[in-house]
Amino acid sequence: MSWIDLAVLALLGAGLAFYAAGSLGFLRFPDTASRLHALTKADNLGLGLVALAAAIYGGSLAVAAKIALVWLFAVIAAGTTSQLLARRARLDEARLDDADSAPDGGLR
């Protein structure tokens, strides 16, 4: 096993650990904001590590550049959706505070 293989394995392992931590937080945290916190922070890092591992494993600059692009857009998309989710959660909470019996409207 070469040093490159070892590095790939280490990066993959670390990435998966962050994913696992993120998922655990998503399941265990009490409210939307902290769940998002767990997901975005841990998963972005996890994805980055896995992408890095894949880029090294791919072994060419072109592949690495493509993977970097994929990672970049995944991060931007994740950031956008968590913004939207957080906003939605705040709106829902505000509405629930206003009236206890507010019906659920729109995309939860």
Binding site: L84, R88, R108
Partner: protein
Amino acid sequence: MTFAFDLILCLMILGTAAIALFVRDALAAIAFFIAFGNLMGLAWLGLDAVNVALAEIAIGAGVTGVLLILARARLLALGDAATSTGSPLLLRLGALAACAGFVVLLAAAVLSIPPESGLDRVVAPLMPGLGIENRVTGVLLAFRAYDTLLESFVLLGALVAVWSLAPAGAWPGRPADPGMADAPMRRVAGTFGQLLLPVALVMAAYLVWAGSDLPGGAFQAGTVLAGGLLVAGMGGTIGLPSSDQPLLRAALVLGPVVFLAIGLAGVAAGGLLVYPAGLAKALIVTIEYTLFLSIGVTLALLVAGPPMPGASDPDPEGKG
């Protein structure tokens, strides 16, 4: 990939499918359906069918998922939560027995057929004549181009069918705005849309080009374009077009009509959809580029739904 991986994947596919089908809440069902679609994409990768994996994830999970979420949201606005309600026990037992028996029969039939890539041997020697490498593209746009031609009109016809549902007084008009109602959310989505739309266009164009030799093609690329258009539409980056805009209509029919015209022009070379020697790749790429544009716009409008009354848009720019 190892057999253990395939086995776990298959079990996960069945599990997500079961949850998607039987969970009470409609949104959870759709979320699991999207997860199911993505796992199906992995299954296609496991089968070494990258073209199908792209199509399944983009169309089967992506577009279908957005469609269902939007439909569910519109139903919910009318007070219909689309929750699954139980049917009579007798019906369920009968259906269970019938379906279980059917699965056993079907599985027995499936297992009686040895898996083999029989037609690959027929396709492979024909590929050099086309000048492209991707065999699936070869089947879709040469050997079975007739199916694909008709299918492009099915997609167009589905949009016409959706449009026919427009209520009285809404025609010609715009679909109901699928965008975010809340201003800050709209801004966030809008910024993302401004970034995504040009990238989606470049990405889609690349997918078509790559589709000649690598996995990809008009349908996968069209879906990427549709995704970009939809995200941009949700953020208000582009306005939804009115159904009677000539430019829009032209964008919709362009791909199918170019395909049909090239097919008929083949008559000069010997018959319907015959590509003259040496021109095959050029013609296939021409068809794919026009088709991808039309597919993208059609899919986006299919998701948006029929024109609705009072669905006027703040910034009516055309698209397409």
